[in-house]
């Protein structure tokens, strides 16, 4: 329940108030207002002890102003469009004179940049789709839900032999968002988000210790799968204790779980090579290595073909939303079909530049699963196979697609059984690797990625001992 004071703050940033102010701003030829209000509860543990408790309220409006003018450069044509975005707090918007000055300054900035003209989205004919983005479990007492989740985490860790909970962080965020533009777009949405970060430490013979660190973002508390995740990571921690550095190797490598998800969703807000090369922006800037109708792998795939979708409609997906950042309605979009670039995702700007439909922003990535059993992918009948379950940091180059990443934990499957490995690095290229790949039937999700739980690549290189 908002207090009277908080209600007043919210009103100062009301989209209709800001829209009216923008309509009265000379030179604001088009505009967009996006308001965001985040209410967040955070708790931090050191072992069993609560180290810190935080409550956070962050409310702001992002105002984008477009200005049409004669370009400074004659190569641009007769008209150019400039744009800029400013962020307003309630204290900015509450003072009409200050608000007018901020908006006027924004118009001045926009008037100084020259870009080929483009428009803004129109209101969708069918309205916005219903997308599930709110955890019902967080509709009530957020503090109680947070405490309960932490209690489950502690209990799950306590059940693990030779493992202790080193630290944990849990954030629960409730977000309210509105979006309007000068073409009549008007949308509102709510969402929840949970972030769990924990470290498990295991102790072995001679006092040796090893840790395993997990970081998970989801829309719903239940999708954290606390007990199962703790059990899996406790196993990873114990295996890390006994892991050895693999030898240098070139051959079949299986990526599973978060390791395969990281190829498509590197984290840190980085879209990664697949998001980049399937974009209209990359094509417009002549940086895309992919062309519609051509295979993405550079050569005809010898194994399974890969189909990749951008999916903002997935229930409780971290990137799910009824509309994107400029008000385009959410739609599932097959970008790569059977290893061939089918179409590009495009915002209104680059859709205009390329003359293709505006699709909305890149969202959750879905890779259609294959038909192989996990056991078949791990089969070592023709020699050892290495499986990697976690990298220290998978950060493929967005332009070349090349990657080299330290092995945080993996396994060697061979005739004598399975042994854990860690250290050394795996190198390859995220496009070329799919020229010889087999995809599992089992699936995995990290909240943004949903797809095969494992992929066996015909030949990748490990730099080891």
């Amino acid at each position: 329940m908002l207090t009277e004071n908080e209600t007043r703050a919210h009103e100062a940033l009301a989209p209709e108030v800001l829209g009216a102010a923008l309509a009265a701003t000379p030179g604001a030829d088009d505009w967009q207002v996006e308001t965001l209000r985040d209410e967040e509860a955070q708790v931090y543990l050191i072992g069993d002890r609560v180290e810190a408790v935080r409550t956070v309220t962050n409310e702001r409006a992002r105002v984008t102003v477009h200005n049409d003018h004669t370009p400074r450069d004659s190569e641009m044509g007769a008209r150019a469009r400039g744009m800029t975005t400013v962020t307003l707090l309630a204290s900015d918007a509450a003072d009409p004179a200050r608000l007018a000055q901020r908006l006027g300054d924004a118009v001045t900035v926009a008037s100084l940049t020259d870009n080929p003209p483009f428009g803004l989205p129109e209101p969708p004919d069918q309205g916005y789709p219903a997308v599930q983005t709110v955890d019902p479990a967080l509709a009530g007492d957020v503090g109680a839900a947070l405490q309960e989740t932490m209690a489950r985490l502690r209990a799950a860790a306590a059940r693990e032999q030779n493992v202790r909970l080193s630290s944990a962080e849990l954030f629960v965020t409730q977000t309210a968002r509105t979006l309007r533009n000068s073409h009549g777009v008007a949308g509102a949405s709510r969402g929840t988000r949970v972030m769990l970060d924990f470290v498990l430490i295991t102790r072995g013979a001679g006092g040796r210790e090893a840790e395993f660190h997990g970081e998970f973002t989801r829309r719903r508390l239940e999708d954290l799968l606390v007990e199962g995740t703790v059990a899996a990571y406790a196993t990873f921690a114990r295996h890390s204790l006994d892991a050895t550095t693999p030898p240098t190797y070139e051959g079949p490598v299986v990526l599973s779980g978060e390791a395969i998800a990281g190829i498509f969703n590197p984290g840190l807000g980085l879209g990664g090579p697949y998001a980049f090369h399937t974009s209209a922006e990359a094509a417009y800037q002549k940086l895309s290595r992919l062309a519609p109708g051509e295979v993405i792998t550079g050569e005809e795939p010898r194994g399974d073909r890969m189909t990749l979708l951008s999916d903002p409609l997935r229930p409780f997906g971290v990137q799910s939303n009824a509309f994107d950042g400029e008000g385009l309605p959410a739609a599932r979009l097959a970008l790569i079909e059977e290893s061939v670039l089918a179409r590009r995702w495009a915002d209104t700007r680059y859709a205009t530049y390329l003359g293709v439909p505006a699709t909305g922003a890149y969202a959750n990535v879905t890779v259609l699963p294959g038909t192989s059993d996990l056991a078949a992918l791990r089969s070592a009948t023709e020699g050892p196979v290495y499986e990697i379950v976690a990298f220290s940091f998978m950060n493929p180059d967005p332009i070349s697609g090349d990657f080299v990443a330290e092995i945080k934990l993996g396994y060697r499957h061979g005739a004598t059984g399975t042994q854990p490995i860690k250290g050394g690095s795996l190198a390859g290229n995220v496009f070329a690797a799919f020229a010889d790949a087999r995809l599992s039937r089992a699936t995995y999700s990290d909240g943004t990625y949903y797809g095969p739980a494992a992929v066996r690549f015909g030949s990748l290189t490990i730099a080891g001992a």
């Binding site: 207090t3 956070v56 744009m83 309630a90 940049t113 070349s400 080299v404 690095s425």
Partner: protein
Amino acid sequence: MLYAFVLPASQEAEARAILLCCGTCAAPRRYGAPAHCPGVALITRGGQDVVDPVEQVVGELVDELDARFPYAAALLSGASGIQISDNGSEQDATETNPSRGIVFTVYDGAAFQEYATSDLDAARLASGVRAWAGRLSLRPGGPPIAGVDREAGPAPERLTFATQMEMDPAAVPLSEKLGLMRDIQRRARALDARIVQAQARYADQTQHSVYIGRGRWLAQDVTRAVFAIIIAVSDGTQVRYHYTINGKTAGFEVTRIGEEELRRTADTALRLLEAERIEPGEYTIVTDSSISGTIAHESFGHGVELDLFPKGRALSQKYLDRQVAAPMIQMYDDPSYTGGYGSYFFDDEGEVARPTQILKDGVFVLPISDFAAATYAPGTHTPNGRRQDFTRKAYARMTNTFFGSGDTPPEVLIAGVARGVYLRSAESGMEDPMGWGIQVTAHYGEEIVDGQPTGRLFAPVGITGYVPDVLQSIDAVGSDFELLGGGVCGKGHKELVPVSTGGPHLRMKARLG
């Protein structure tokens, strides 16, 4: 430009400590850095600080909290600035992330409690903080606050610090900034027909922050500016790129780039069209300053963050006062380094910036800490408590992290390699504070044979290894020094803060792949 020094007598000693760090000058001798340190601006002034109207109220609220709890403080923070880019066909200019807000902190005897909000209206703030504090009470049973140094005496005077700049970005018209980016972009684009895109980027951001607590009232305007030119080339079958980046606590002067540097950036991008993947294995390597700095950052930077110690996550805890690197290795973290991209005058918990020597002659001598971690280990408080922004907690974080220089010219380091790789342009790295693994990715490396670079390039190149093995394999330290900024550091994969890394060229052994 220079500001006048106006110091209240009670805090003169503390302020003088900063001046000694950055004056004329201990730093070059300590680090082997070029003698470029002109001193630091320390001033009191009025002006357009976005948080001024509420400071008085914040001070009163902190006093109220301080009377009830063992520790109370507040940090107001905000930022202003612009980021622009030009790739020849498009121009963008937009505000840098302002992230304005305030966070109040108390220690209630058992845990730290924080209230953070973006609402800077004084009346609503007071009402919100009092309502929050009303729900708190003293809870004995937690670790006692220890080693909290508090200013004694009457109410503090406000001290204001500001970055010294040759060209204040606020005084440079936006049209001039855009014009320069377009000019640089065009000059770069014209260098070779195989260039498919040249993108010039510039960003400046002045972070305003005010700390009130522990008898201190400190305000600072830290201005960071970053310039980058990214050149993408194609041979018709592939696209490669290279970049030059210059990020500092400085002003618009960071955009200075000569024709030779533009040409070198383009030439490297073109040479990368022929780059190969390196044959995996152990190599003798020579690292440029960016790679040396990233190794420092990921090894005994993250590995010695004191907040990891109470969690039992840092193996380094067992190695205090023990040899962990070759004896000629010195390593520092220094938020007071003039011009360093990670520099500031005080941290987000009111601790005045000063250097920390982490490794001395290869021995681990001191971790870096935030306030909370230091309360559990008296005598270890260093000025490294940093927040991503007001919405996040403070942790022990790095600032400008680097190896000290040695006495071997870089060309002599290379000449001493029979067969190896000269690694350039760090792209990223990852820490492993308990396992002491290390991952650093170089944009490229160049083969060395018989002491000479051959021109054969490998890209990208990953460096992995066991931290003590890597650091103890260092057999020569360059006489050069460079600090490279413009990047950010995360705690795991979140909590991003601006940092720089650097040092001299180093020669060592490492596993490449």
